[in-house]
């Protein structure tokens, strides 16, 4: 069975500090990978997607970047956090049909 693991579970970071969030998928070869963002009390918005190692497409510009260094790993990062980056970040995978989400990382920027 496929498992998706996100880290960290939660972060409190200062404005202007760097950020790195990670996601690992096990049990699935060459999945499509996604990053989604959810503001508190809001809906989910896709940020990035990747269909293969080294290839990442940006969907929404939020001063964030993503990378896929390995087939099973997806990283979300920024060098300088903004207050508006606060929220819930979810990694997801699909096999071109149904999309499955990780448990998310709750980010608070202060």
């Amino acid at each position: 069975a496929q498992t998706i693991h996100q880290w960290p579970v939660a972060e409190i970071k200062a404005v202007g500090s760097p950020l790195s969030l990670g996601c690992t998928i096990k049990g699935k070869s060459s999945p499509n990978l996604y990053w989604y963002w959810q503001a508190t009390g809001g809906t989910l918005q896709q940020l990035f997607y990747s269909i293969t190692v080294g290839q990442v497409e940006s969907v929404v510009q939020l001063n964030l970047s993503a990378s896929r260094p390995k087939d099973d790993q997806f990283i979300l990062s920024t060098e300088k956090l903004l207050l508006s980056h606060s929220g819930f970040y979810l990694c997801a995978w699909s096999d071109i049909t149904e999309v499955f989400f990780g448990k998310g990382t709750r980010l608070t920027v202060v």
Partner: protein
């Protein structure tokens, strides 16, 4: 305007009663997914639908691509059904990009 419009935005149900949630699409949805987001934030997959109907226990969902809507019926509501229900539509063009509705916050009361 909203590409995926969910209604109602909030709902309070007596335990044991039935209700229906709805999503209307102003985009050409090809598939629909329904999720339940629990208080911790995890998204639980409820249904993945191509046009048609699916049933799972006390839940039943339908997707009509011609009339551009989807419904989620909850029968005999239980306390553990409480949470936020999201529908999400995928359109042609690939990458499994899901456009989410704003969610329905469901509270089941004893």
């Amino acid at each position: 305007g909203d590409k995926v419009k969910q209604s109602p935005s909030a709902l309070s149900l007596q335990e044991g009663t039935n209700s229906a949630l709805r999503c209307n699409f102003s985009i050409a949805a090809t598939t629909v997914q329904w999720f339940l987001q629990n208080p911790r934030g995890s998204l639980i997959n409820l249904f993945y639908l191509v046009p048609g109907t699916k049933e799972n226990g006390r839940l039943k969902s339908a997707f009509d691509s011609k009339e551009s809507y989807s419904t989620l019926h909850i029968r005999d509501a239980q306390l553990e059904d409480s949470g936020t229900y999201f529908c999400a539509a995928e359109t042609t063009g690939g990458n499994n990009k899901l456009t989410f509705g704003q969610g329905t916050v469901l509270s089941v009361i004893p």
